[in-house]
């Protein structure tokens, strides 16, 4: 399903990430020495059961959360150790976000939501590029609507457009279809696929849905804070199959660090 570009550079990389929450007995280790690279122009899905650390990994990669140990790079920028100002600028200029819900500002129109990062930066979004996204997402007749006047699928498409509007180095999508019906979800996923194929966008998506993961070029399986499997060219069946044997994978992983 993927059209791999001949030359692949690394868009996001993590090296030896550790992250723990709480103290003493109650301490939960969310990430356990995770090292992973995400190639630019690729669509990667992160999967894993609840509590596997998949969301934590994404938050750490995106500079939304701090790591206890290890380093994160986005492009050439070392994320680890950046101050709030630099992190904010990084998020604004190099990262796009798509969340599960509450993705839009209710006071702004769809169009204003799409150009929000540029407006925050005090810059003008590239109109040709914006037009292309809007056309691809079929939002042209919805631009002057407020989020409350849009369906859930339309809202999430607007969020997708916003994430791509500033041509970020990478788009992080956190369960983007979690709140949508199957049809709207498929539309969103098709768009993400298209943006990788046609625009060379890098996307990292956290999901627990095998059919969503099937849209990706690669699936990274996380369990108990560790990467337990790295699958290329996934299909829904392959992913389901892998998940069926998940307990074995987890046991194996636990055996390694026990």
């Amino acid at each position: 399903m993927s059209t791999a570009s001949p030359v692949r550079t690394t868009a996001v990389s993590a090296e030896g990430l550790w992250k723990a929450y709480g103290m003493g007995e109650a301490q939960v280790v969310a990430l356990r020495d995770v090292s992973v690279e995400f190639a630019s122009g690729a669509f990667t899905a992160i999967m894993g059961p609840s509590g596997s650390g998949k969301s934590t990994l994404m938050h750490c990669l995106a500079g939304l959360d701090t790591t206890d140990r290890g380093t994160v790079h986005i492009g050439d920028t070392a994320v680890t150790g950046l101050g709030d100002k630099a992190l904010t600028k990084l998020r604004r200029d190099k990262i796009g976000f798509i969340f599960q819900q509450f993705n839009l500002l209710p006071t702004l129109t769809a169009e204003e939501n799409i150009t929000l990062p540029a407006a925050i930066a005090g810059a003008k979004a590239d109109p040709a590029w914006i037009n292309q996204i809007i056309k691809t997402l079929d939002l042209a007749d919805r631009l002057s609507h407020k989020p409350t006047e849009l369906s859930g699928g339309q809202q999430q498409r607007v969020a997708c457009a916003r994430a791509l509007a500033s041509r970020p180095e990478v788009v992080f999508a956190d369960e983007p279809t979690g709140n949508l019906d199957t049809r709207s979800g498929a539309e969103v996923l098709r768009f993400l696929r298209t943006s990788v194929d046609d625009f060379g966008q890098t996307i990292v998506m956290v999901t627990h849905d095998p059919s969503a993961a099937a849209y990706a070029d690669r699936v990274v399986f996380l369990a108990d804070g560790q990467i337990v499997e790295d699958m290329a060219e996934p299909t829904a069946d392959k992913v389901i199959d892998k998940m069926k044997h998940f307990e074995e994978l987890v046991a194996a992983a636990q055996g390694e660090h026990a």
Binding site: H59, L64, T88, R91, R92, F99, F102, L105, P117, I120
Partner: protein, 850 residues
């Protein structure tokens, strides 16, 4: 259910604190106003009651009316020495002292009168023990012989004199020409370490000197203080006869205190007025806070409903929370209010009452503050609670969207209420309410006020958009503007609290500036004078000066014309109806200076039996040139005078003008004002100096140019305005806390939104700016509305008073600009805490926030 309520409250501490704060402040201000009023009243009456401590009976002349300082007939007020002897001879009387008290005038170090606004009281120094409790010598001794005086500490401070200096004192009986200088031998304070009872200055003479100054030298007294363990008032009354009133010391104290109670009642009304404004503003604050909080808890309440709680239970749960918050916060507010009331009493006493010792009194009515606090909280929670319970559980548990309710209902209702008020007002202003105009106007203003408040949500849309357009030069500013406009009701109710305070201040300021404008226009419009000789208005005595000075001023080379004015207005009548009388040594010359014109007849060389009147008055009375009217002067003389001329209507010359020959019947037979027309091209300032020199021995008056004159006439208003501004600033503080409250709650409500903004790259500075712009917009919106309503208020009162001579309507532009700037500053300050809170949000936590 109660446990769930309590746990819910504990888990939302920020909201709990903010709601409580609203209730605490409201209760605090009500309680403080009540304590302040009661305490001031008790302190003032306590002081007066002091005056007769140790006195067993007080004898005075039994006359009604003609109070102290009034001209009346001094002889009618007097107690003869023979009566004093009769009292002394009565059984049970150990001692009886004759006291003499009345108003005197004293020259200070600068040659002008001591004490402009409060009177100088002359009294005889009693060396007896009775007064000892009350008068405390601070320096020197009491007067022991004629020619010696002791003065009160305030007199010493105001006059610039001290022990060893001499002071010239005169009175209505002994005029300035024959006044004597007295040697100051002592300075005294009043019990409680005060310099003055209520702002007055005092001079204590020997009994002989006091009688010379105050009773024309007769051996009489104004009252007699009686001492003795076995004093029987009935026996004294029998001895002195029916012309005298005999009271026990307690009765006299009560009577005196009642006289002063009018003063403290007046102050009480003012403070209670501010207390009510504070409550009114607080009600807005509490209702707003509860509405927001219940709206935010909709999902929590829906969950309770989903797991089987009945609607009644949900309502009761919210009400229980309101009751707990209301009770707790009201008790705290009551306690703080008592402290504030006590503190304010001390401040008022120190700044306005000459250091009056404060006697704290907490009236039982203070408990009403508790009722107000609890009642308002529970009622404010009721509506949102009922609304929350009526939402289907599933709908509420979905995304917490609170679409703004349509504004049509409240707008229509507000328009109707406003129109009703306006119609009532219009009827009142056009004198169509059959004698109840003033009531109609006041009620109309109140109703219109409520109407405007109901219209604020709809008004907020265009106004917030307009104000926002000014402030949204940056993107974060634009977001702030959108946030300010997203919930018109919330923005409106928050701004309304500010509006009320600003409206009241602006209304009063508009009135003051209209009065000033009217006064200065009256001077500028027709008046040809450049300089005015006059005394400060509102003083305790009527300032006047010698007619000789008018001639001296006329003789100055650069003076063209001088118009002098004599006036008589105490019990003066024309054809039996009260009317003020005026006179001038040369009415024709005076009219030239005033710019007045004669419509009919002639004013040249008025004959003694001639009288001149203005058109308006002539029309009202139905008289014309040649008619005869009966004019009664303040000395009781009545004369038949013939109207010689009619003047064209003009403020300064309105009323009845009699010939100079009639001045002998006036109470004050000296000119009170003189208007000087300086020669064309002459240096007005130089002439002013020359006139000043001529007036150096006239203690009661000075010379001012026209601008200074307006300032002098209206100076007191500025003081009142300043005091009102300070008191309303307190109401403003509540309003500002309301803004902070709304912003903090909005920040909480928009946590996820803020998280999203931060996630897509908004810096902390931009977040702060966004909140600040929202805050400034709300505050300026409130101020703009308040200024508009205040101007309307001022205009209404001006219209109502137009017939009383308040012709001009003038806006206090400087103050309006100040209030707008203040609103911006207040907006900036109110935003500090909420903005900091919003900027500090943990991005990750905010996105995941439920």
């Amino acid at each position: 259910m109660l446990r769930a309520t309590l746990k819910g409250m504990a888990s939302r501490k920020a909201r709990l604190v903010l709601t409580s704060l609203a209730v605490v402040l409201g209760t605090m201000f009500v309680a403080a106003a009540m304590v302040l009023t009661a305490t001031m009243e008790k302190s003032v009456s306590g002081v007066i009651a002091d005056a007769y401590t140790g006195v067993d009976a007080v004898v005075t002349r039994d006359t009604d009316g003609g109070g102290m300082g009034g001209p009346g007939n001094p002889a009618a007020m007097a107690i003869p020495a023979a009566t004093l002897e009769q009292i002394r001879a009565t059984d049970g009387v150990d001692r009886a002292d004759g006291a003499i008290e009345g108003q005197v005038k004293a020259l200070g170090e600068n040659g002008k009168l001591v004490g402009t606004f409060a009177p100088t009281i002359g009294l005889n120094w009693a060396s007896g023990e009775g007064q000892g409790d009350y008068i405390e010598l601070r320096e020197g001794r009491g007067p022991e012989a004629d020619g010696e005086v002791a003065v009160s500490a305030k007199f010493a401070a105001d006059s610039g004199f001290t022990v060893g200096d001499t002071v010239t004192v005169y009175s209505d009986t002994v005029d300035l020409e024959s006044a004597v200088a007295y040697e100051i031998v002592g300075v005294y304070g009043l019990s409680g370490d005060r310099d003055s009872l209520a702002g007055e200055t005092q001079v204590a003479f020997s009994t002989g000197d006091a009688q010379r100054l105050l009773t024309g030298g007769e051996d009489v007294y104004t009252s007699v203080y009686v001492y003795g363990d076995a004093v029987d008032t009935d026996a004294i009354a029998a001895a002195v006869g029916n012309d005298f009133k005999v009271q026990t010391g307690e009765e006299a104290s009560e009577a005196a205190a009642q006289g002063f109670a009018v003063v403290s009642d007046f102050m009480g009304y003012i403070f209670l007025g501010f207390g009510l404004v504070a409550v009114f503003v607080s009600i807005f604050l509490i209702i707003n806070t509860f509405t927001i909080i219940v709206a935010q808890r909709q999902r929590e309440l829906a969950l309770l409903r989903a797991i089987g709680a009945g609607r009644g239970q949900v309502v009761r749960s919210v009400l229980a929370e309101a009751l707990i918050i209301g009770t707790g916060a009201s008790i705290i507010g009551l306690g703080l209010g008592l402290l504030l009331g006590w503190g304010l009493s001390e401040v008022v006493s120190a700044t306005m009452m000459g250091g009056l010792p404060v006697q704290l009194l907490i009236p039982a009515t203070t408990l009403w503050a508790l009722a107000v606090g609890i009642g308002v909280t529970v009622l404010s929670a009721l509506l949102p609670a009922v609304k929350a319970s009526s939402v289907p559980p599933v709908a509420a548990m979905r995304e917490a969207v609170n679409p703004p309710k349509p504004l049509r209902g409240i707008t229509i209702a507000g328009a109707i209420v406003f129109l009703a008020g306006a119609v009532l007002l219009a009827f009142g202003l056009t004198d169509n309410l059959g004698g109840e105009e003033l009531t109609g106007i006041l009620v109309g203003v109140g109703i219109a006020f409520v109407g405007v408040t109901m219209l604020t949500p709809i008004l907020s849309r265009p106004l917030v958009a307009l104000l926002g357009a000014v402030m949204s030069w940056s993107f974060s500013g634009r977001l702030g503007k959108l946030n300010a406009g997203r919930n018109p009701r919330r923005t409106a109710i928050t701004a309304s609290a500010l509006m009320i305070a600003v409206a009241l201040i602006t209304g009063i300021a508009t009135l003051v500036s209209s009065i000033k404008s009217t006064t200065s226009e009256a001077l500028d419009l027709n008046l040809n004078s450049d300089l005015i000789v006059s005394g400060a208005q509102g003083g305790a005595s009527i300032p006047s000066f010698s007619p000789e000075r008018v001639n001296e001023i006329r003789a100055l080379p650069d003076v063209d014309e001088v118009g002098d004015v004599y006036a008589d207005f105490f019990n003066t009548k024309v054809n039996g109806e009260e009317a003020a009388l005026s006179s001038s040594s040369d009415l024709q010359a005076a009219l030239a200076v005033f710019g007045g014109t004669v419509a009919e007849g002639s004013v040249a060389d008025l004959a003694p039996d001639a009288v001149v009147v203005d058109e308006g008055t002539a029309k009202d009375r139905g008289v014309d040139v040649g008619d005869t009217v009966e004019v009664t002067f303040s000395d009781g003389t009545a004369e038949q005078l013939t109207i010689a001329a009619i003047l064209e209507g003009y403020d300064l010359t309105n009323g009845w003008w009699v010939a100079p020959d009639q001045v002998q019947h006036f109470m004050v037979q000296k000119p009170m004002q003189a208007y000087i027309q300086v020669a064309e091209g002459a240096d007005v300032a130089a002439v002013q100096d020359e006139v000043d020199e001529i007036l150096k021995d006239e203690p009661e008056v000075g010379v001012t140019n026209n601008a200074e004159f307006v300032e002098q006439q209206t100076g007191g208003l500025d003081t009142i305005l300043a005091a009102v501004q300070i008191l309303l600033a307190l109401a403003m503080i509540i309003a500002v806390i309301g803004v902070v409250n709304t912003l903090v709650l909005s920040v909480l409500e928009r946590t996820r939104e803020l998280g999203l903004l931060r996630a897509v790259g908004m810096t902390r500075g931009q977040v702060r700016r966004m909140i600040t712009v929202e805050s400034v917009i709300i505050c300026v919106f409130g101020a703009v509305l308040g200024i508009a309503v205040g101007i309307g208020l001022g205009w209404t009162v001006q219209q109502a008073l137009e017939e009383e001579g308040l012709h001009n309507f003038a806006l206090p532009w400087g103050l309006i600009a100040t209030y707008l700037v203040a609103a911006v500053v207040v907006g900036l300050l109110a935003a500090i805490a909420p903005a900091a809170r919003a900027a500090k949000l943990n991005v990750l936590g905010a996105i995941a926030y439920e």
